[in-house]
């Protein structure tokens, strides 16, 4: 008896093993890839009979099959503990059932996203990045940010953070299509409802209680949510995911409150062409808002130009040549001088920052490549900032723009949404591992806690940037320039800014 020995071992590691097993999972599935991009496959159903669905409800109903909703579906389809789930995807976008014909010769669509290295690695994990690489995409390893006052500029290099790239610019339709193709590789049980959500009932049906139920907690927990669609169909699901964009119907129906405001600013987006290839992301702060020039492959770039609504309407209808002139002006001498390239010496007012720093040519201020031609229509979008006060309640959870929209300034919008989608699928998987009901509020609140802090931090930074640059006031300009110069010459600070913007750091040191 004396030498009784107890063997102990911690079980916690098991949870971490339950994520994506290996990248080999993708190669396993590779032989199944069909050459067609059509979504119709044997395991694909288009929902019709609501009767059948009531008897066999869905585990998850994804309302909104945009980039973020499809990223969730794809990630669920790829994880060993979630791939058996019965999932309904509700979206009237015909691309979901017919696929998108993407022709390589077409000029790039103006709707693009700057995906961060963190997003790229998540896409690689689920096996979707290889489809992105089959289409047009542009990695960039340099970014130059400056402003119209000529007082400061800063350059970010991937090398500074020991990375190959700062990000990749991809058309939204390519991202969307890659996720669709990736799901086709699996035998995931999904049903696409080509319709829109019109109403939702969260109260349980005929829940007769044998005991007094007033305080039991039982009445808060219905087992299923009922979704009614605009085409008259309805379906039942344990968990409803709202990935239906910034005007989310799910958010409204579930009664989640939001906080936010409009910037009273619009963005013009379009594709432009150069005579040479652009390899750098450029952003210049102008009096009315920033203009960004992002490489998108071949000799094309994408423009996101923020201005007041009146200017936006005017510039949208401006003759093409005049618009191109405006763009070149805005990216060069318009509104103010070039900042002094610090290698030219002459000690600007911030020369004390550059002690001991030798600037390589990469570090010098440069003027972006000239735009020679407009290559797409011009689209105008209002800008707003919105954040849902809650992301999760029993049965309902929000991801992507449905939970938060940010200023498109740093290209973070969809990256935050992808972060949500992958976090949610991981938390669902962890819940399944321990037999939790996937609609359990404690589980969903775990997702909320994890993502809220990430999203709010980024939103605050972008909003701060936005506010700082929408004021033209002498002392502020100098402070701004100081911030630029600071970022340029204090490597640790700069490094943490980049690594935060590239999605691999939780909190920036300047929070």
């Amino acid at each position: 008896m004396n030498s009784l020995i107890i063997r102990r071992k911690l079980a916690e590691h098991i949870i971490s093993r339950l994520k994506f097993p290996q990248r080999t999972l993708c190669t396993d599935a590779a032989p199944k890839v069909s050459s067609s991009h059509s979504v119709q496959s044997s395991n694909d159903h288009v929902g019709q009979q609501s009767f059948r669905n009531e008897v066999h409800p869905y585990d998850i109903a994804i309302v909104g099959g945009g980039m973020v909703g499809m990223a969730l579906a794809c990630s669920l389809a790829r994880m060993p503990l979630t791939k058996h789930l019965k999932v309904a995807i509700i979206d009237s976008n015909p691309a979901l059932s017919k696929g998108l014909g993407i022709k390589k010769e077409d000029p790039p669509d103006p709707r693009v996203s700057t995906v961060t290295p963190a997003t790229i690695s998540l896409f690689k994990d689920i096996g979707a990045w290889k489809y992105v690489e089959q289409h047009r995409h542009a990695y960039f390893d340099q970014m130059q940010v400056w402003d119209y006052t000529g007082l400061g500029y800063t350059k970010y290099n991937a090398r500074d953070v020991h990375k190959d790239t700062l990000g990749c610019v991809v058309e939204n339709k390519v991202l969307h299509n890659s996720l669709l193709s990736c799901i086709q590789d699996t035998d995931f049980q999904k049903t696409i409802y080509p319709s829109r959500l019109s109403s939702m009932t969260l109260q349980p049906r005929n829940l007769s209680m044998g005991v007094d139920s007033t305080s039991s907690g039982l009445n808060e927990r219905g087992n299923l949510a009922k979704l009614d669609l605009s085409d008259g169909n309805s379906l039942y699901a344990k968990l409803v995911v709202g990935s239906d964009g910034s005007k989310s119907r799910v958010r409204e129906l579930a009664g989640f409150k939001t906080t936010g405001w409009n910037y009273s600013q619009n963005a013009i987006i379009c594709t432009v062409e150069h005579s040479v290839e652009n390899r750098c992301a450029w952003q210049r702060f102008l009096p009315a808002g920033p203009i960004a020039l992002l490489p998108i492959g071949d000799n094309f770039s994408n423009i996101v130009w923020t201005m007041n609504p009146k200017e936006a309407t005017d510039r949208k209808s401006l003759a093409e040549d005049d618009f191109v002139k405006d763009v070149n002006y805005a990216l060069d001498y318009g509104f103010g001088p070039h900042p002094k390239s610090s290698t030219l010496g002459s000690g600007g007012i911030f020369s004390w920052f550059k002690t001991d720093v030798n600037l390589s040519p990469d570090e010098c201020f440069r003027v972006p490549p000239k735009v020679v031609k407009l290559a797409s229509e011009r689209m105008v979008f209002p800008l707003s900032l919105m954040h849902a006060n809650d992301y999760a309640s029993k049965h309902v959870v929000l991801i992507g723009d449905a939970a938060h929209t940010v200023h498109p300034l740093a290209g973070q919008g969809v990256n935050l949404g992808f972060g949500d989608a992958f976090a949610l699928s991981r938390i669902i998987s962890e819940g399944i591992a321990v037999g939790t009901d996937i609609a359990e509020v404690l589980l969903l609140k775990k997702y909320e806690a994890e993502r809220k802090s990430a999203n709010v931090t980024m939103m605050a930074i972008l909003d701060g940037f936005q506010k700082a640059y929408s004021v033209d006031f002498g002392p502020l300009n100098i402070l701004r320039a100081a911030a630029f110069n600071g970022a340029q010459y204090i490597p640790p600070l700069k490094r943490s800014i980049i690594s935060y913007a590239s999605g691999d750091q939780r909190f920036p040191i300047f929070s």
């Binding site: 107890i6 962890e430 321990v434």
Partner: protein, 310 residues
């Protein structure tokens, strides 16, 4: 001594992951056992600990029921599934204890840890199931589950709640005790008694019943709270933690088992503890995690010796 050697062999033998296993010799702790018990005025453990089970005269089936404890549970039965109610600590603890169960039992039964339903085809019993907080996840993990509790109201609530989800509606709930199931000669691949042993009248007898319900080669999983100063302090300090589900006062306190005592009484019921882990609570996040600190709450996974030749 022979038993201890056999144990040692068993513990080391079948394991495939020996390199990661921590062994800890409990001998130094055992020398303190008696004095520890004497610190408390009422030592309900001294009898079962000193009388080996096979020497005990055959008496009428002892009841593990402690009426005072049961009345407490009956009073708050309605709130079992209110995740913000009195059972909040159990809801919070649940993923963590199930992570331990999943990991140990997948290994025990040779199941695929990446399967969503690894316990398919196995018969489990959850003794003292309360509202079914543990029975339900076990059923979702594929097991055929029977949940039993001595309080009728608990069973009612458990039934209603399990019927809300087709994955759990197959659970068989019964208002009965472990002893009764033994009389009915039931047995199960795995027997669970989570946060129950501290509420029963006679832990040693209770463990014997659990053992009798476990098939030879099967698994028994028990979790409880340690009788340590740290546990006492935690319980006093973290009011929420103690709110309703832990007994108040030193009388009940003294009936808590230390990991060593639990291992010992299980040993006498032909069940040998294979692994133990502690649960550590972080009051800031409201999360529990597994650790090797068994000072406050702990869980043990044990196996029933295949041929009981004591």
């Amino acid at each position: 001594m022979a038993l201890a050697l056999k144990l040692l062999k068993q513990l080391r033998g079948p394991s495939t992951t020996t390199s990661t296993i921590l062994y800890r010799n409990l001998r130094p702790r055992f020398s303190n056992l008696r004095s520890t018990i004497r610190l408390f005025s009422d030592p309900p453990l001294s009898e079962p600990l000193t009388i080996p089970p096979h020497q005990k005269p055959h008496s009428p089936s002892p009841s593990s029921l402690n009426q005072y404890e049961l009345a407490k549970f009956a009073a708050i039965a309605e709130t079992w599934w209110d995740s913000e109610g009195p059972f909040k600590p159990l809801h919070q603890l649940n993923p963590t204890r199930l992570a331990f169960i999943r990991s140990t039992l997948c290994r025990h039964f040779g199941r695929d840890p990446l399967s969503p339903r690894p316990f398919e085809g196995l018969k489990f019993v959850d003794v003292g199931c309360g509202g079914g907080i543990v029975s339900e996840p076990l059923a979702r993990l594929g097991a055929t589950v029977m949940g039993v509790d001595a309080v009728e109201k608990n069973i009612k609530i458990a039934r209603l709640h399990a019927d809300l989800d087709p994955l759990t509606s197959s659970i068989e709930y019964r208002c009965t005790t472990a002893e009764k199931l033994v009389e009915e000669q039931k047995n199960f691949d795995a027997v669970f008694a989570l946060e129950v042993i501290e509420h029963v009248a006679d832990p040693a007898e209770f463990c014997k019943s659990l053992a009798a319900l476990t098939v030879p080669g099967g698994a028994t999983v028990i979790s409880t709270i340690n009788r340590s100063m740290r546990a006492y302090a935690t319980a006093i300090v973290a009011a929420e933690y103690l709110l309703h589900w832990l007994p108040k006062g030193t009388h009940q306190w003294s009936s808590f088992l230390t990991p060593e005592e639990l291992a010992l009484i299980l040993e006498r019921a032909s069940i040998s503890v294979q692994e133990m882990a502690g649960f550590v609570y972080n009051p800031l996040t409201g999360r529990w995690s597994l650790s090797d600190d068994v000072n406050v709450n702990f869980i043990a996974y044990a196996t029933k010796i295949k041929t009981a030749n004591l």
